[in-house]
């Protein structure tokens, strides 16, 4: 398919495709069943540069553009949504805020090992009473001499346990709502900083998601990330990155399902002919291909906008809303084409169907995306 990519982008995609096909695909089903964290995959992602794609070379990253990152996540998501999500949480949510607002010392200490893939990152915003409504944040950080003291908890945090470095938000001015939130850098193992229970999720079984607990966690004063009380705009910027990555996942997973459905429909014989010869099935495939191509076109356009340094908050909300809902629809049709086999764990479309649903929820639900979009439209 014509993609108007540079040779470098094509080759980086080839790297991701070879890795996904040779090393991810053969064990994806088995790992989904065991729910284990895929350390072997993550180690290989570090070697290949997938954990520092948009981070500049001077900070240990690859220095590739947003479109390259989207292409790589798309390829990986064709085989494993879990691994794509691990990369998203590490890079877009974890490392990018450090790149945006970190001091040089913070970048050297935390961004460089993250970009090289030596230390995994995680980002903690959501709380039992604060998700999309960040103003409801209950965790607090109080300055005590030269240290911040954090108390509270987070939930639905991806890469917990596996990550060494965490970016978390806490109220630093309880009276000021969104304008009273700051971001902090936490290291795994800091006294009082605990990993709570893992969520028992519907899908994306290999990404570790769950609770973080802060009990009088004392961290150095210099671990404040960005300006005091300016954590909210920082993580909104990080969420834009995350929405782009989630959209790339959506396109990749949907393509993975279409590829599998096409192959199956050619092989599966009913009433004396392959089921792809029935118009009902062929038209499902046409609908899937159409929706995927539309989402992909917008994905590449928004990635290019980002690469060109333009504000893309509205466009990425539109993209994320459309691509994630599209992925759920495509997975639904994929399972339908597989019939009874589609409902079986022996065939992989069932895994994609379970994994896809997170995409309309994480990094801002479809409804939150619509708030962003309508806000922009009405502005």
């Amino acid at each position: 398919m014509p993609t108007f990519l540079t040779e470098e982008q094509e080759l980086m995609r080839q790297t991701a495709r070879e890795f996904a096909k040779n090393e991810v695909a053969p064990v994806a089903k088995q790992l989904d069943e065991t729910h284990e964290f895929p350390w072997a995959w993550v180690k290989r992602c570090a070697e290949l540069g997938f954990l520092g794609i948009p981070i500049p070379e001077e900070y240990g990253g690859v220095g590739a553009d947003a479109l390259s990152e989207a292409l790589i996540i798309e390829e990986i998501a064709k085989e494993s949504g879990s691994l794509a999500l691990i990369i998203d949480a590490h890079t877009s949510l974890g490392a990018m805020p450090l790149l945006f607002e970190g001091t040089e010392a913070q970048k050297q200490k935390y961004l460089v090992p993250a970009a090289k893939g030596e230390k995994l990152m995680s980002f903690g915003l959501t709380e039992p009473s604060a998700g999309s409504d960040a103003g409801g944040t209950k965790s607090t950080a109080v300055l005590d001499g030269d240290e911040w003291v954090l108390n509270g908890s987070k939930c639905w945090i991806t890469n917990i346990g596996a990550a060494e470095t965490y970016i978390v938000t806490a109220k630093t001015d309880p009276d000021k709502g969104n304008r009273g939130i700051s971001a902090f850098i936490l290291e795994k193992g800091t006294p009082g900083f605990e990993v709570g229970k893992l969520e028992n999720k519907m899908g994306l079984n290999n990404s570790a998601t769950g609770e973080l607990i802060f009990k009088n966690v004392r961290i150095p004063k210099e671990n404040l990330l960005g300006k005091l009380n300016r954590g909210f705009p920082l993580f909104l910027k990080g969420l834009d990155e995350g929405r782009l990555a989630i959209s790339a996942m959506a396109v990749g997973m949907a393509q993975g399902v279409l590829d599998r459905a096409v192959a199956y429909s050619k092989e599966r014989v009913q009433f004396g002919k392959p089921i792809c010869k029935f118009q009902a099935i062929a038209f499902y495939l046409a609908d899937m291909a159409t929706e995927i191509e539309l989402a992909r076109t917008l994905l590449y356009r928004v990635a290019r906008m980002h690469g060109a340094g333009q504000n893309f908050s509205k466009e990425v909300a539109i993209l994320k809303y459309y691509a994630s809902e599209m992925c759920v629809r495509v997975c639904n049709l994929g399972v339908q084409i597989f019939g009874g086999n589609g409902y079986s764990r022996d065939f992989e479309v069932e895994r994609f169907y379970r994994d896809a649903k997170l995409l309309t929820i994480g990094e801002g639900t479809s409804e939150v995306c619509k708030i962003v979009i309508s806000g922009n439209v009405l502005a």
Binding site: E8, T15, E18, E57
Partner: protein, 259 residues
């Protein structure tokens, strides 16, 4: 330090080639190209030797205009530079022509101590270019190699030959053709991909090699190229219990005299 030249071929990916079930015609219209799989082993071996002892690795290919695409791909796998003989003749070249052209390019480039090729090309698998190239250059060829090292100005290689193995030692310059089992080619990292753009590429025109027109005329004529039709009975037991399926199979195999 040796000058290692690794030869590779830019071929159609056979997985993208479709066979028309009616007339067995090949449809290559949707086929993408790739570096021949066996040549990836050759590149990997050159790069491994460089990582071990420090040599200079140059990639060399003879291809049509479309093979330009192969250069960054090859360079991302580790060679320090690439040389590309660009001519439409490559599309029709057989091993005779290819060996003549590669020999011409090597003479033009000058410094070569060890020339590494894959055991055969992924499209033709004729296994001729390596030994032919050695014969044209008048140097030894060590073929079917599953292990090699460079010791001073010599190559020491283990050949695997059906019923035995043997160790062959030859002084520079020498052609070595490697078996796929010699290594597992790595997937290039993103940094290697981006680094490939910064490496030098030399494009050579066929006319500049000063070859005799007879050296560029292939020796065999292709009469036809058709899909291979596997005609088998295709009796597949799908339904019923394991015992029933096994019983049917054993009965058929007994009838065929295959037990």
């Amino acid at each position: 330090m040796a000058n290692i030249v690794v030869c590779y071929k830019w071929v159609l990916d056979e997985q993208d080639i479709k066979v028309n079930p009616g007339n067995l015609a090949l449809d290559t219209s949707r086929a993408k190209s790739k570096i021949s799989d066996y040549d990836r082993n050759a590149i990997e071996e050159a790069v491994l030797l460089n990582e071990k002892d420090g040599h200079k690795v140059t990639g060399l290919t003879f291809g049509v205009a479309g093979a330009k695409q192969s250069l960054k791909d090859a360079l991302s796998r580790g060679p320090a530079e690439a040389v590309w003989v660009n001519d439409p003749v490559a599309a029709e070249a057989d091993a005779f022509v290819t060996a003549n052209v590669l020999a011409g390019a090597l003479k033009k480039v000058g410094n070569y101590d060890v020339i590494i090729c894959g055991e055969g090309a992924a499209d033709t698998y004729a296994q001729q270019v390596g030994p032919r190239l050695a014969a044209v250059l008048g140097i030894p060829a060590i073929t079917f190699v599953n292990q090699m090292s460079i010791e001073g100005d010599k190559v020491v290689a283990t050949r695997k030959l059906g019923d035995c193995t043997e160790t062959v030692t030859a002084s520079f310059p020498v052609v070595v053709t490697v078996l796929p089992e010699i290594n597992k080619p790595r997937i290039p990292s993103l940094k290697q991909v981006l680094g490939a753009s910064k490496k030098p590429v030399t494009e050579i025109k066929l006319a500049d090699l000063g070859l005799n027109p007879d050296d560029l005329k292939r020796k065999t004529t292709v009469k036809s190229l058709k899909g291979y039709a596997m005609t088998r009975k295709n009796v597949i037991y799908k339904d019923g219990s394991t015992a029933e399926k096994v019983a049917k199979l054993v009965a058929e195999l007994a009838k065929e005299g295959a037990l």
